[in-house]
Symmetry: C2
Subunit: 199 residues, 2 copies
Amino acid sequence: MPLVPEAVERLAAEFGRLPGIGPKTAQRLTFYCLRASAEMSQRLAGALTDLHTRVRPCSRCFFIADGPLCAICTDAKRDGSLLCVVEEALDVLAVERSGEFHGLYHVLGGALSPMDGVGPDELRIRELEARVAEGEIREVVIATDPDVEGEATAYYVAERLAKLEVTVSRPAHGLPAGSDLEYADELTMARAFAGRRAL
Amino acid sequence: MPLVPEAVERLAAEFGRLPGIGPKTAQRLTFYCLRASAEMSQRLAGALTDLHTRVRPCSRCFFIADGPLCAICTDAKRDGSLLCVVEEALDVLAVERSGEFHGLYHVLGGALSPMDGVGPDELRIRELEARVAEGEIREVVIATDPDVEGEATAYYVAERLAKLEVTVSRPAHGLPAGSDLEYADELTMARAFAGRRAL
């Protein structure tokens, strides 16, 4: 006979399915919910349900929206001649936090990863080509992750866009701000030196 | 105008209310749910709802149960002459993992903390006295956390039980001081129980 009621085991198992939440954390969250008010659990449950009924991908850039277009695509103040390509919706928020980019976005939905069965057709590359082919976009910044899959995806996307009249760029690689030189890995250091600029 | 739909902000806020989950983790969990299937979110939402309708405190020891009594109180193989007093229901699982204790439990519901308004009447000490007064219990192991509040609670509870004919003990200091009971590893917990000493 199990030590705890099935409803407790089940909630712990569901928490444990979330990324970065191991069995012990899942158990701790479950027992926290048990001690907290039923209203708190209800609010979390309601928010989870609402998420999928109220939120959908933007039909143009595939960022998240509650209407046909997202808040960025409907913002008339954004520069429609600049497009930033990212892997995930969460990456849009990371770029936005920098305050450096004022154009529009295109969320690919991942990176090329043949081992995981993610080829070009699994990403929104055709949709990207169609947007660029409309002619309004002057520059595409490919801000996929600076890892193996992200680099490969960036080069593949750049090649697909080569036949169109558009500048393709990639954010600079180098030392992260506020870090210590001695902690930089070899590849980061090599890229930082290769991309050095005159002061 | 906010960058993300209100439903996304709301779920991130609810995740952020859980212990140990900061704003960035909450955002990451929210975007994970967005990408995962609606069924996964529905299962988590359902488990949260079920938790409070199906689980209640055991009427005898205040551990969690889905009937009037918990799985431990209804287990005829447990030693009814031994009682382990803990602060929280989660601590029962930590003691059980050690495999060293085969008696019953009593969950106080916290530790004495005058600063937070937790006095003796806020804990289930009266219920503990009543159980011990029934006469079947031979030894009470007070396994409150080995921190300031837990030690104070242990001494207070021991004093309240002094007038009753029962041995009162405390697990040995194999438990690392100043930590939380639920994080103890199995061996430390086992040694602490095996080496318990009379107060």
